[in-house]
Amino acid sequence: MLKGHLDMIVLAALAAAGSAHGYAVIEEIKRRSGGAFDLPEGTIYPALHRLEQAGLLKSTWTTADSGRRRRVYSLTRTGTRALVERRAVWKQFSDAIGGLLGGNRPRETPA
């Protein structure tokens, strides 16, 4: 299930972090999810490349304090828009499931 939402998770982490390299994205995901997502860290990198290819992210190479080359990612406008859309879909889905499990009626969405 997590894999199906990996793109949204990465986009959300990057939106929160501003711009970040892969390691910082993973740390942001761990921090914001309270360590709930336990997926191989290496999985994030193909996702970052895929999202960049799809035009949702952009990246630049910098040099870290350690002297190593570092690739820093940030959201593009398209990426920000995609995140807003995915958030809305997730909220709708989450409300519906919440209503089913908790017995609360989900709020009516305007047509």
């Binding site: 894999k3 990996l6 793109d7 390299h21 892969g22 390691y23 993973i26 191989p40 860290e41 290496g42 999985t43 990198y45 193909p46 996702a47 490349h49 895929r50 290819q53 799809a54 870290a64 350690s66 190593r68 080359r69 570092r70 690739r71």
Partner: protein, 230 residues
Amino acid sequence: MIPDYLESLARELDFDRSLSRCVRQEVEDHLWEAVAADSTGNTPQAQRRAIASFGDARAIAAQFAVVSLAKHTRRAAVAAVLVIASDLIAMKARIAWYAAAQWGTSDDMRALRGLVILIDRYAFWMSVIIGLGALAYIHSREIPAAFYPAYRRQLRCFSMLCHATAAALVVSVLSDGLLTALQLRGMKLSVEIWVAILTMAIEIACVGILLVHIRSMTLRAASTAALAKT
């Protein structure tokens, strides 16, 4: 330990040298940062933990292979359209040259010429339509996270469209070749004739480029499938 892991990851991604180099640098930075953040410091255990958390090199490479394949297929689609456009330019340049040189057409073989022109026209416009269709098809699809069966179906469909584009273009270029041969029949070798031959050579080279792209894409898809299987 980390250099060995990076070496094995880079080896798995060897089919795409620039991707391999770029991923190696990115992962190297990640692993050493993870080691630096480890409470035990730079110890073999910390390195082992960083590698274990990162995941199996082959599994990670398989995911990168899908991204690389997607990039490759999109490039092939763009190449197909550019090749068709280049063919059109070469074709029009040759016709303009015939007009400028005031080369008329002889009456004999008129029927054959008419038939070949008809085949050429239909084949060329068919390649335009299918090529644009292939471009629209592949760009309207999302890049998948793994080599899913649905993605395989997409690739098969795209590959068929590319092959159909190439086949139609080959027919068009062969027809052009025949028309050029009919036009130049009986003429002595001169600078003017070389212009017609050069434009034909450009057309043939363009088709060659498209075929190379299709073959490269097919090989890449096969290696990605092999990597995904293991």
